[in-house]
Symmetry: C2
Subunit: 351 residues, 2 copies
């Protein structure tokens, strides 16, 4: 249903490794003066005076992290970049460079790799990122993508996971659960497609969910948003594996507990209606779904008035003493311990 253009088909081996790198990177322009040397030497060279550098990396494996039967390669390239940038933004830093390494099997023609790079290039343009290097090689099976992202911040503006203090407020950007439900919709359509390839699915009620799964965005805007509001978070983490998993990381690093209020968790209307349709609990989806790439952070309770009117931000709870544990306060006012149910790649695949 989401097939790549299968018209042209050029064998990658006709270019060779260096020919392929030249071909894929030739029209990547350099946007930052800090990028002194991009692709084309043994290493990239960067100079960013008096800034602290943050660096983060992700490894994406076909069949584990993505399914090319419903993830178009262009979207995959875009998402692979966004996922890494999200980690840079979670440090309250500005992302400026990435390296991109891919391993591809011979079943991919050049046109497929070009589609992947078109997505990478679109993300690089959208987020003002220089692609400064990488590696291109063959795989025995499937597609592997490894991206490393580099960002910068003044030391005093960096935000770690470890700074949350008792009485701080827990804040989340955007809304949660949509990306996971988008995946459920796509999986269902894949099964329908297998049975009846001529079926034309009506995906209109799920556009937001599918977009959140196939073309997520990272919260580049939050650093400036908070700076403009004169708020510095005390701790921050990005929500890649689901709210419950991230809240546990943050509380563990900060040596605190917390209470999250079920009725405060921000949900899009499509999430609520899709949960009804799939007979799923929307709170569970928001807590455990993952891939939302929103930011979860804590602020001093004194800053509440600065953020309370902002439509991008939802206060969902508060930090407690570590002895009080980590709990969800339900709509029925019962207190449930939060345990990690986020995504664990080691439990999902088999040899």
């Amino acid at each position: 249903m989401f097939k790549e253009n299968e018209g042209a088909r050029t064998d990658i081996s006709s270019l060779g490794e260096f020919g392929l790198i030249d071909h894929l990177t030739k029209d990547f322009d350099i946007k930052h003066t800090s990028t002194k040397m991009g692709v084309g030497d043994d290493a990239a060279v960067i100079f960013e005076k008096d800034q602290h550098m943050v660096i983060t990396t992700d490894l994406l494996i076909e069949g584990v992290h993505f399914d090319l039967s419903y993830m178009p390669l262009k979207h995959l390239g875009y998402k692979a970049v966004v996922v890494n940038l999200s980690d840079v933004y979670a440090m309250n830093a500005v992302a400026k460079q990435i390296t991109v390494s891919i391993a591809i099997s011979n079943r991919f023609p050049l046109e497929a790799v070009e589609a992947l790079y078109a997505g990478i290039k679109t993300a690089a343009k959208t987020y003002a990122i220089d692609v400064v290097g990488g590696d291109t090689t063959s795989s025995t099976r499937g597609l592997v993508i490894s991206i490393t992202a580099i960002g910068y911040s003044k030391e005093e503006e960096l935000v770690y996971r470890s700074g949350a203090k008792e009485t701080d407020l827990l804040v989340v950007t955007g809304d949660l659960g949509a990306a996971y439900l988008g995946l459920q919709v796509l999986e269902r359509e894949k099964q329908v497609f297998k049975v009846n390839p001529n079926n034309q699915p009506d995906l209109e009620p799920y556009t937001y969910l599918i977009e959140r799964q196939l073309k997520p965005e990272a919260r580049k805007d939050v650093k400036k948003l908070l700076s403009d509001l004169d708020v510095k978070p005390t701790s921050m983490i990005d929500i890649s594996d689901g709210l419950s998993s991230e809240i546990l990381h943050l509380c563990k690093s900060s040596k605190v507990g917390c209470n999250i209020y079920e009725d405060k968790i921000p949900l899009d209307p499509q999430v609520i209606s899709a949960c009804e349709e799939f007979n799923m609990d929307s709170t569970t989806i928001a807590l455990s779904g993952g891939e939302d790439y929103e930011l979860l952070f804590t602020i001093s309770v004194n800053d509440f008035s600065k953020i309370k009117a902002n439509p991008h931000l939802s206060v969902i709870g508060h930090i407690t003493n570590v002895t009080e544990g980590i709990h969800l306060i339900t709509r029925a006012n019962t207190k449930i311990p939060i345990i990690a149910r986020g995504w664990n790649s080691f439990q999902e695949t088999s040899e």
Copy 2:
């Protein structure tokens, strides 16, 4: 013949992704004050005042870049780090940090991953490197390793591929061809082992070759060596794909030609004897073998007297005008154009 210890066998999924990362990284110590935050947040944080940063990355795929039937996992971990550091040293920079991402299939028990990390840790200790982050995930098949290395240099000490000038001398460190022959020996023993598993191979005549293949070292020493000799290379590249491939890169970047003299190419006695045994031409092996991780650089002819007595360095040729092309001058004094015959991963595998 080179089997890992198969005694204990702990299922990786029993730890989960975060448990595994904690377990593998818990005793990585931080060696550099520039590493402000290593593993444990959304991103690592680094601050190196007034230095230019170099960054390079490699992606290694089982069945393409390594064969676990004769590459012990500890050696593989070591080599994966060294390969990346070599690129940092080729910029005349000092390597200080790496990130390590791995994807592993369920067929690997925890003990195998521990062996891999033991090699990574040994390399980190030997080369004074901080492991500051990475990603650990599952693969559908085989092992994938992605390493990113970060180094530093004063701007004026960086050496690019592009600085070679006419009349400059071409210099190579160490000797060439041994790693490729080590691979040939190991491949041969693998075939013998298949036929007769009880055969005890006598690898004594090949110790240097096998060590160069299984436990290569990167030329960390060259920056200081050249600094002590008061020589700054005009251009530099590391020899990962074979001398012919690298000389073509260097000449292309510098827009020059060159002559290399066959009788000046440094060869270890074991390379010469193994070439006789395998009926291979030692010059071809040195030019096309790859994986030597020596450095190839150019210096001003005026610096010749400073380096000529150094046992680590061999002058193998000189830079010419670009119109003269790139040639090997044979022992018989004939002039042969050098073409790339280095390693190309896209021609070696099939789906």
